[in-house]
Amino acid sequence: MKDIFDRGENRKKDFSEVPSDRERREFLKMGLVVTGVLAGGGILSLVSNVKKAYSLDAYRDEYPYKPHYAMVLRQDRCIDCGRCMEACVKTNSVPDYGWRTMILKRKNPRSVDQIMEFIPILCNQCNNPPCVRTCPTRATYKDKIHGIVMMDNKKCIGCKSCMMACPYNARYYNETRKAIDKCDFCFETKLSQGMNNVACAEACPADVRVFGDLSDPESRVFRMVHQLQKPVWVLRPELNAKPNIFYTKG
């Protein structure tokens, strides 16, 4: 992990007439960043690795939670079958007037290959969550162990300021719970029961959603985020909310 980010020292060592592997990788990475920007549009401001997704030093070498739950969405694999949404509704008793996850559709009429692409969205479980900052009663909070943005329903006063603050439209008011509801990475229904995957990822036939522990170098999410061959980005990175939902293609 350290060698990935420790470029300052290595750049000097690698500076020679023959391009090193590292220089080739840097060049490739730069190309991927540019490609990513073009593919993602203005708001996505793509990044090619976790260093840029987490620009602060604190997030370069370690993740603040253990397990540090995260999800990588392999966007180009999504076929909009909706099974993730069905599984989420069933597992978490989501009413018909709300959603915890959904799939956005983008039309690309001038594209030479596929016209439509699909972008699954859910709560980004931000490390710097605007919803938590704005909640007057701490009804929504960042769990100190696993980092999931949770709800303490009994404290929710229904002011809906968290809905205003969330940059990802991830919250709605649930009449049955008498509180704001949101994705909790199936913590209540699965993770806290000893299971280790979330309903939407389990239900996906195309393996779009990869859920896991970003603090574990052996996990799939870690390896997908910490590679240089494919672009990895987050939604609305300019807000500095530090999401734990990553997107990739290819």
Binding site: G42, I43, Y97, L104, T134, A139
Partner: protein, 399 residues
């Protein structure tokens, strides 16, 4: 003890009752009318919160989670801050011309905060949880927590100040309580601006503009409310305005003109800076300038909120009270919609607008529901009822 208090209070209460009862037909009819409005508004809010559910009777939804009721709350509490600030120029900061406004203004500041609390109490889903968890589980990083807490303290300080103002020989204590009231009102007001200003996912709101704008806007609203209610008070008491009060209103009108000029500069810069900002903020501004909110903006906010009142104040020269009353009425009406536009337009651009997805390709729409309108009328009913009763109970806030 009860007998003693009854013996002491009875004459005062009886006198107040007599003043109310002898107010005349129009006065009594107004009391009944605004009382009914208050009850209907309360019924609509209670139905929404505890019987039918807000999702079924309020027009807010996931993408526009707050709208008319929050903007009405903002309207009332910002007015309270303004009334408090303008009147404090006299009885706290010693500007003589403003001194005659003190008692009535402090009373109006309390009434308008309570009207705001009434409306927001019928807007949030669990007002009783709020009363409990705001105290036992506070979030000090939340602007909403600070805003609510500071406004609650402001009510206490203003009430103490009002009691001291009514009590002989307590001027010094009244000034201290008044000063604390002004400080908490301004801090609460600025935090209210901060609620919107710190929503960095909503570019139309985000930035340092709103906390400052809210104080300026409060002062303008305060001027309008004071002129409006002082004029009406003279009509209720059916007496000509005394020269000190007339001079005070002249000063308020001049202050209003200055503030309206400053507001024009603020508005121009908000338009210019937002127009070159993020696509989302620029789209929202576009909706305000030439889109679905253009009528509200140009006719109400700009013409009714700034230009027409400025001209009327200019022509009235601080002497023509009827013209000043008309100006303040137009201002109050327009400012109500100014608040609504600020709250709604900040949310009409979908959060995924820049992503270019089908689901976020159109602006969100909002049209208030009957229940929301009734709750607003309930707030107005409370405010008017409290004003009418206050004029008689406190006997025109005489010295």
């Amino acid at each position: 003890m009860a007998l003693i208090s009854k013996a002491l209070m009875s004459p005062a209460i009886k006198a107040a009752y007599d003043r109310v009862a002898s107010g005349g037909r129009l006065y009594i009819a107004s009391l009944i009318f605004f009382g009914v409005l208050l009850l209907v508004g309360l019924a609509a809010g209670v139905n929404a919160l505890f019987i039918t559910g807000t999702r079924h009777v309020y027009a807010t939804y996931r993408e526009i989670p707050v709208a008319l009721l929050i903007s009405t709350y903002v309207f009332f509490v910002v007015a309270s801050t303004g009334i408090c600030l303008v009147s404090s120029l006299g009885h706290v900061f010693g500007v003589k011309n403003f001194v005659p406004l003190a008692k009535r203004s402090v009373y109006l500041a309390i009434v308008t905060i309570l009207a705001g609390f009434l409306v927001i109490g019928l807007e949030i889903e669990h007002p009783f949880r709020m009363a409990l968890y705001n105290i036992i589980s506070p979030n000090f990083s939340s602007n909403i927590w600070w805003m609510g807490t500071l406004y609650s303290f402001a009510v206490v300080f203003l009430t103490v100040e009002f009691i001291f103002l009514l009590t002989e020989g307590r001027h010094r204590q009244a000034v201290i309580a008044g000063f604390l009231g002004v400080v908490t009102e301004v801090a609460a007001n600025s935090n209210l601006g901060g609620v919107f200003a710190m929503m960095h996912g909503r570019p139309f709101w985000y930035g340092s503009y709103f906390p400052v704008y809210f104080i300026l806007s409060a002062l303008i609203t305060g001027c309008a409310f004071i002129i409006f209610f002082v004029f009406l008070a003279q009509k209720i008491h059916q007496k000509p305005m005394d020269s000190a009060t007339a001079r005070a209103l002249e000063s308020v009108a001049r202050l209003a003109m200055l503030l309206l000029a400053v507001m024009t500069v603020f508005t121009v810069w908000k338009i210019l800076t937002t127009s070159v900002g993020s696509p989302s903020a620029a789209t929202a501004m576009n909706a305000l300038l030439i889109g679905p909110y253009a009528f509200n903006f140009w006719v109400l906010e700009i013409s009714g909120g700034i230009i027409i009142p400025f001209i009327l104040f200019l022509v009235a020269k601080g002497k023509n009270m009827v013209m000043m009353f008309v100006a303040s009425t137009i201002m109050i009406f327009s400012i109500f919609f100014m608040r609504l536009d600020m709250v709604v337009v900040g949310q009409i651009v979908p959060l995924y607008w820049d992503l270019g997805v089908v689901e976020a390709s159109e602006l969100h729409r909002y049209m208030p529901s009957i229940s929301e309108i009734l709750v607003v009328l309930g707030g107005i009913g409370f405010c008017a009822l409290a004003f009418l009763l206050g004029e008689k109970v406190f006997d025109g806030f005489k010295k």
